[in-house]
């Protein structure tokens, strides 16, 4: 039982981070109908910016995190302005191919600008964990849980409780009517894309220092995010959160009770199982 509780708790911590990154994929797809295969690379790029500010330039950890987020979002805004925006109304396969290309370019650009070696970002947190029975949690893991929860709640509040959120929803329900009502739809597109990738960028700030930073770290994040959003229901925000937590727990239990060598296979078997029972995902609905 001790092992079970410890594995489930570990699964929730990492699952919450998966959910955060996956939420970004579902925001961009749900609102813009763009499948962003470069999503995980924004996660990676933010971690590289953070390594530059915190480790290379010796800045304060939190200041470095804010600057890294700002730099990654600025880059994201340029990508949206010059590449993604041209895909409005284009078939989904076009956005998939373009973002795959962006992903390859970003990974190679990072190798060119930095280097391919794995990097470490020191955190200001105490490395020892607090222990309550079978549960052990470090300050860094608390930081991940709190920031993830704050980001998810914050996004939901923006979307559902603010005029801006109303403008976003209106734009993606009917772009022409929204424009006739004075909404700057181009700006809304840019903002939505950046809101989506900001989830990946926050993930980079949280997980870059927790693990290591390397050029292909985003590819694994993208793959897991895609599995999560499909399992949760494409474009469904709550589904992405449930999917992320579920995948985190399944992965942890699979390693704990079956074998670490099969954990990825078991995770994607879980996705297949969910889709065979609920073809549109846990909370997804058939689109007409």
């Amino acid at each position: 039982m001790t092992l079970f509780i410890s594995l489930v708790f570990g699964g929730i911590i990492w699952g919450s981070a998966y959910a955060l990154v996956a939420l970004g994929v579902t925001i961009v797809y749900g609102m813009m109908r763009v499948i962003n295969f470069s999503h995980g690379d924004f996660f990676m790029l933010t971690a590289y910016f953070m390594w530059t500010f915190v480790t290379l330039l010796g800045m304060n950890f939190f200041l470095g995190a804010v600057l890294a987020l700002a730099a990654a979002l600025l880059f994201g805004a340029l990508v949206e302005r010059f590449l993604i925006r041209s895909l409005v109304d284009a078939p989904i396969i076009n956005s998939a191919l373009l973002t795959m290309g962006i992903s390859a370019v970003m990974q190679n650009a990072v190798i060119l600008l930095w280097d391919p070696q794995q990097k470490n970002i020191a955190t200001p947190f105490n490395p020892n964990s607090y222990q309550w029975g079978p549960i052990a949690i470090t300050q860094n893991q608390m930081f991940i849980l709190i920031t993830t929860a704050a980001a998810i709640i914050g996004f939901n509040l923006i979307l559902k409780r603010t005029r801006l959120g109303k403008a976003i929803r209106a734009t993606f329900q009917d772009r022409d009517v929204a424009a006739l009502n004075g909404i700057n739809t181009k700006w809304i597109y840019s903002l939505t894309f950046n809101l989506g990738i900001s989830m990946a960028c926050i993930g980079g700030i949280l997980l870059g220092p927790t693990f290591t930073v390397y050029p292909t770290m985003g590819a694994a994040a993208t793959l897991k995010s895609m599995g999560i959003v499909v399992m949760g229901g494409l474009g469904n925000f709550t589904g992405a959160i449930i999917g992320g937590l579920l995948l985190g727990i399944v992965e942890s239990l699979a390693i704990g009770y079956i074998s670490s060598g099969f954990s990825n296979a078991i995770c994607f078997a879980a996705v297949i199982l969910v889709l065979s029972i609920k073809p549109y995902g846990i909370l997804g609905e058939k689109r007409l």
Partner: protein
């Protein structure tokens, strides 16, 4: 239309950038200078296959630098038997398919006379059949899976140790001297990782230790080891034998501390404080770690190798401004082995002549004496059982841990 034009321009730039970023592959290094005085003799073309991208990029980059330094030194000393050495480097990302492609490019396009590498066991095993087909020798300085030489391919020579030799040297000592009683393995899901478990687990059991089912991981995608560590702790492990890349080993050590768990750790690959300090936030993370050590750096503490290793450490620093690491030394020694074979072959670059000469090699390098048996396995490598204390690596045999 304007947007389409802009998008097209950006995509073209993107493609160019992608192309630029892959320049390490196939790049002919400046160390490979063209011979000046020997106009009649072509240089010996050495193909080097190392991971310059992916999870083992750090190890591969060090490997590349060690080889380049050796080539430079040999050429500056006038070459061997009237020939200079020329290095052609290909990146395999420690991936099997990329390694075969890299070898094919080296053999077909660059028509190399000999290959040094690949760095990893799985890529090396995948490339071996090509070497027999092209009748071109291959000298590997890092991969330790026993199959590489046990297959008796006839064209493969290993300057480093293998897991049979390593486990015979260290597995019993882990149990009897260092108190490894219930042992869990955390291994790469590769030929290297599986080879370690295959050889070390029975040796540990034979010495009286208990071995738990191994935990395998994909080195390039796994960064979270907490579930595996929790499982091993629940199964009663008091010690862990690891095989992964250095950065993953550091994550395992760090995550065990986060779980408030302090088993004994041993890493089967030759590591040292310089490489660990590079990837760990602080030396506390690898305090108490046991490791297999080789003379490349540990020789500094061995009176027999001290002077040669110190010269090598100084040369690496003078050339690259870097602290020497194991992977600098493994390729450095492999290149000197190739040069010695070229000398014994009287400068012949013919594959059969070089192969015959490699069997005759007998010289003292940085890693002990290099002398191959009939399967191409170096039997003269010197090894140490090492441990880390206060951020520094010590040899157990000379200074047992307290």
């Amino acid at each position: 239309m304007k947007m389409i034009r802009i998008t097209s321009v950006v995509l073209i730039i993107a493609m160019l950038l992608t192309a630029c970023a892959t320049t390490p592959a196939g790049t002919e290094q400046p160390a490979a200078e063209k011979p000046e005085e020997s106009k009649t003799l072509e240089p010996l073309k050495i193909g080097l296959i190392v991971p310059l991208t992916g999870a083992n990029a750090m190890e591969g980059d060090n490997n590349q630098k060690g080889a380049m330094l050796a080539v430079k030194q040999i050429n500056e000393a006038g070459g061997v038997a009237g020939r200079k050495l020329e290095l052609v480097i290909e990146d395999d990302a420690n991936d099997v398919t990329s390694a075969v492609n890299a070898a094919q490019v080296l053999l077909d396009k660059h028509q190399v006379d000999i290959i040094v590498g690949p760095w990893g066991s799985s890529p090396a095993l995948a490339v071996m059949p090509l070497m027999a087909e092209y009748e071109t020798p291959m000298v590997v300085g890092s991969p330790t899976n026993a199959k590489i030489t046990d297959e008796n391919n006839g064209w493969v020579f290993r300057t480093c140790s293998n897991e049979v030799i390593n486990s015979e040297f260290a597995a019993a000592r882990l149990v009897t001297e260092l108190g490894f009683k219930t042992v869990g393995f955390m291994a790469n899901n590769t030929d290297h990782g599986r080879g370690v478990v295959e050889m070390w687990a029975p040796a540990i059991e034979a010495a009286g230790g208990k071995v738990l089912p191994a935990e395998y991981h994909d080195a390039s995608t796994t960064v979270n080891f907490t579930a595996s560590l929790s499982k091993l702790r629940a199964a009663g492990a008091d010690s862990i034998v690891m095989t992964p890349s250095l950065s993953n080993a550091v994550l395992i050590l760090k995550q065990a501390k986060e779980l408030n768990w302090s088993p004994k750790f041993f890493i089967t690959t030759g590591v040292n404080e310089n490489s660990l300090n590079k990837v760990a936030e602080s030396p506390e993370i690898f305090e108490g770690l046991y490791a297999l050590g080789y003379t490349v750096l540990m020789g500094l503490q061995d009176p027999e190798y001290k002077d040669a290793v110190q010269k090598f450490v100084d040369d690496i620093y003078n050339e690259y401004g870097l602290k020497a690491e194991s992977n600098h030394g493994s390729s450095y020694d492999a290149i000197y082995t190739v040069a010695e074979a070229l000398r014994l072959a009287d400068g012949s670059t013919d594959g059969n002549d070089l192969r015959e000469a490699l069997f005759k090699v007998n010289f003292k390098g940085l890693r002990g004496v290099t002398q191959f048996d009939e399967k191409g396995q170096n039997q003269g490598l010197k090894k140490y059982m090492c441990y880390f204390k206060d951020g520094k690596e010590y040899i157990c045999d000379f200074d047992l841990p307290q």
